[in-house]
């Protein structure tokens, strides 16, 4: 049985190996993506966006080929994937890492083999890897400041927190409360845990709502809970019918399509923010810049995506279950990540 599996594996490797004849073109690079986890919508959209950009680059003759490897979330599988990519002598590996530290060894091996490595989305600590991470730090404070100012600095606030005990959740919460301290007339009247999921957030807010005074602002944790908060207020009805509180959004298709309709009906105004899965396309153009020997800093920041009342119309076609995103092009990467003067 084991021998059979080994033989099968060898056969598969051989097929893959013969498939890579196209890489012989020395002038044009081969870009490979190692994505550690493929189990949610965000990652699906991220990989789709990388593929769209890679196809474009291939059609334009900028790259010889591209490879996409998706993993099961484990470090071991990603190490195996990258080892394989090293043997196949690709030019650049872009990776959404399974672990911040456990991938250090294999990244160093790739760098030593002369392959450029760009880690994006999930942090890695290997010094030789170029980095493209989201600007999480300002996400919570940005959106809270906008909502506080828009509400005129006063009102009742309900905080819907994320997953109990998670580190990013605590960062978000601390970011929110730090801003709230600057507005003495904003009063936190309730706090509950929505577990960053729509159904849980809906139940949590529904339970609490009858015991609260009128709520003007809802600070959600992001990651998929905003639409649940909307449903809780909608079902409560009464004073909130047609006068929904300002609910901070998470760029989910469900929330955004509701916002589009509510804006049309009641001139509803709010803001929504999330790391865009379109980072997949951005990292491809960044990889090309690195490969071309352009002056790319080791550490780069990817802006998170904000949807405002003004830009909402661009997303009116968003489907439920989708996450608002854009496919970024080379000009955008030059201007926003590499900060080149146009």
């Amino acid at each position: 049985m084991v021998r059979k599996a080994v033989l099968l594996g060898a056969a598969a490797l051989a097929v893959v190996g013969f498939g890579s004849v196209a890489y012989a073109d020395a002038a044009k690079p081969v870009i490979a993506m190692s994505n550690a986890y493929y189990g949610n919508t965000w990652r699906h959209q991220m990989v789709d966006s990388f593929e769209a950009a890679a196809k474009q680059a291939k059609a334009d003759g900028k790259i010889a080929d591209y490879i996409i490897n998706n993993g099961d979330g484990s470090v071991n599988q990603q190490i195996a994937q990258i080892s394989d990519l090293i043997l196949r002598k690709v030019d650049v590996i872009v990776m959404d890492a399974a672990s911040e530290t456990a991938t250090d060894g294999i990244i160093k091996k790739a760098c030593d083999a002369g392959i450029k490595v760009i880690a994006f989305d999930s942090p890695v600590s290997a010094p030789c890897a170029y980095k493209l991470f989201f600007d999480h730090e300002h996400m919570a404070s940005d959106i809270t400041t906008w909502m506080a100012d828009t509400a005129g600095g006063k009102g009742n606030v309900l905080i819907v927190r994320g997953v109990k005990g998670s580190a990013p959740e605590l960062n978000t919460y601390n970011g929110q409360t730090a801003i709230l301290k600057k507005y003495p007339d904003l009063k936190v009247v309730g706090e509950t845990f929505g577990m960053a999921a729509a159904a849980s957030a809906q139940a949590a807010v529904s339970n609490l709502l009858p015991s609260l005074p009128h709520v003007d602002i809802v600070l959600a944790a992001g990651g998929g809970d905003a639409y649940g908060v909307v449903q809780a207020f909608k079902q409560y009805g009464g004073e909130y019918a047609g006068h929904m509180p300002m609910i901070g959004g998470d760029n989910s298709g469900d929330f955004v399509s509701w916002w589009v309709a509510e804006k049309k009906a009641n001139n509803y105004s709010t803001i929504s923010i999330n790391p865009p899965p379109g980072i997949g396309s951005a990292v491809l153009w960044l990889a090309l810049a690195v490969e071309a020997g352009e002056n790319v800093p080791n550490s780069n920041l990817m802006p998170v995506m904000k949807i405002t009342n003004e830009t909402l119309d661009q997303f009116s076609e968003l489907k439920p279950g989708e996450i608002a995103s854009l496919n970024f092009d080379k000009a955008w990467v030059d201007a926003n990540i590499l900060k080149k003067a146009q």
Binding site: E191, A199, L209
Partner: protein
């Protein structure tokens, strides 16, 4: 008074519920049933799934249905896909959902009874399989439209009372009737009290336990569809809270975790109690960690009290199991 507490084991949950409501009224400084309106809807969804869980637990032998969360999520998606916002489609969507629930129950019963896999492992494993189907369906959902009838059942109100609460109460009455007045109910409890004795007495034990699993699957399936209608959409982790809460509601309500004794009224009250405990703590402004601690202590305290109250009967059951092992 004491006799009442002993005869109607659910009265503990009822008393706790009233005390918590009074505390909640004190904190918010207004005494009104209004503060319970949100809690009651959430509790009703828990109660529907917990009723099925209760029947499985009542069948004894360590039976428990841990596939409930996965059935809820899968059927939430199946409902959203096949209902597609039209009442006419309900003719397809509802039988579809019931079919999924019943099939899951049959598989659970097969694994537990024929293959002799402990229910705690078998049903959890079935749950994992269902999760994969859910991921496939997840990519097909095209719209968030819910048929008007289901949207009203899941989210409508009659004179301020959530319609789903009325459904949960009707279900409670029906299950209580089945448990106390029908042959199935009596054989289920007899099986739970002592499977061997029930078998020797000519009770169709296997069929009874199978029916319990199937009922649990169907109730969870319908709950999933209703929950999707309530939330205007299905979400990947919508079933997750139901894993522990469904068992917790059964036990807190006064049913025995070892099987053989069950109370539908208690399970309804237990569901409400679990939701109200968390809500009261949130209104009181307790920290998240503290909330978990209190919730855990309540469940442990109830389990400890329930065990000491029925020690004699379980002494007997343990003795019986020991005798069976000796023979085998």
């Amino acid at each position: 008074m004491l006799r009442l507490l002993r005869t109607y084991r659910w009265s503990w949950a009822a008393i706790a519920l009233i005390v918590l409501w009074l505390i909640l009224s004190l904190i918010t400084q207004r005494v009104s049933l209004h503060s319970l309106s949100g809690v009651s809807a959430t509790a009703s969804f828990f109660a529907i799934a917990a009723m099925g869980q209760m029947l499985v637990i009542a069948s004894g032998g360590g039976n428990v249905d841990l596939s409930i969360p996965s059935v809820i999520t899968l059927c939430g998606y199946a409902f959203m896909n096949y209902d597609a916002g039209s009442d006419a489609q309900l003719v397809i969507a509802i039988p579809m959902v019931i079919g999924i629930g019943a099939a899951t129950g049959l598989v659970n019963a097969f694994l537990v009874q024929r293959l002799r896999i402990p229910a705690i492992i078998a049903t959890l494993a079935v749950g994992y399989v269902l999760t994969t189907f859910t991921l496939l369906l997840n990519r097909q959902v095209k719209s968030l439209a819910v048929s008007p009838i289901m949207a009203w059942i899941g989210g409508g109100k009659i004179a301020g009372v959530p319609f789903i609460l009325i459904i949960a109460i009707l279900l409670t009455v029906a299950v209580e009737y089945v448990l106390t007045r029908t042959a199935f109910g009596r054989t289920l409890l007899a099986t739970g009290q002592n499977e061997l004795a029930a078998r020797l007495a000519g009770v169709k034990v296997d069929r009874t336990v199978m029916l319990a699993f199937v009922t649990s699957g169907v109730l969870a399936a319908l709950d999933g569809a209703l929950l999707a209608a309530h939330s205007s959409g299905a979400f990947l982790d919508m079933g997750a809270p139901y894993l522990l809460q469904s068992v917790g509601a059964v036990v807190i309500g006064g049913s025995l975790i070892f099987g053989g004794s069950a109370t539908a009224v208690g399970t309804l009250l237990g569901s409400a109690l679990l939701v109200l405990i968390v809500t009261a703590m949130q209104v009181a402004g307790l920290s998240g960690g503290m909330q978990d601690v209190v919730e855990g202590i309540v469940i442990i305290a109830v389990l400890a009290a329930a065990d000491s109250g029925t020690g004699a009967r379980h002494g007997g059951q343990r003795l019986f199991r020991w005798m069976r092992r000796q023979r085998a």
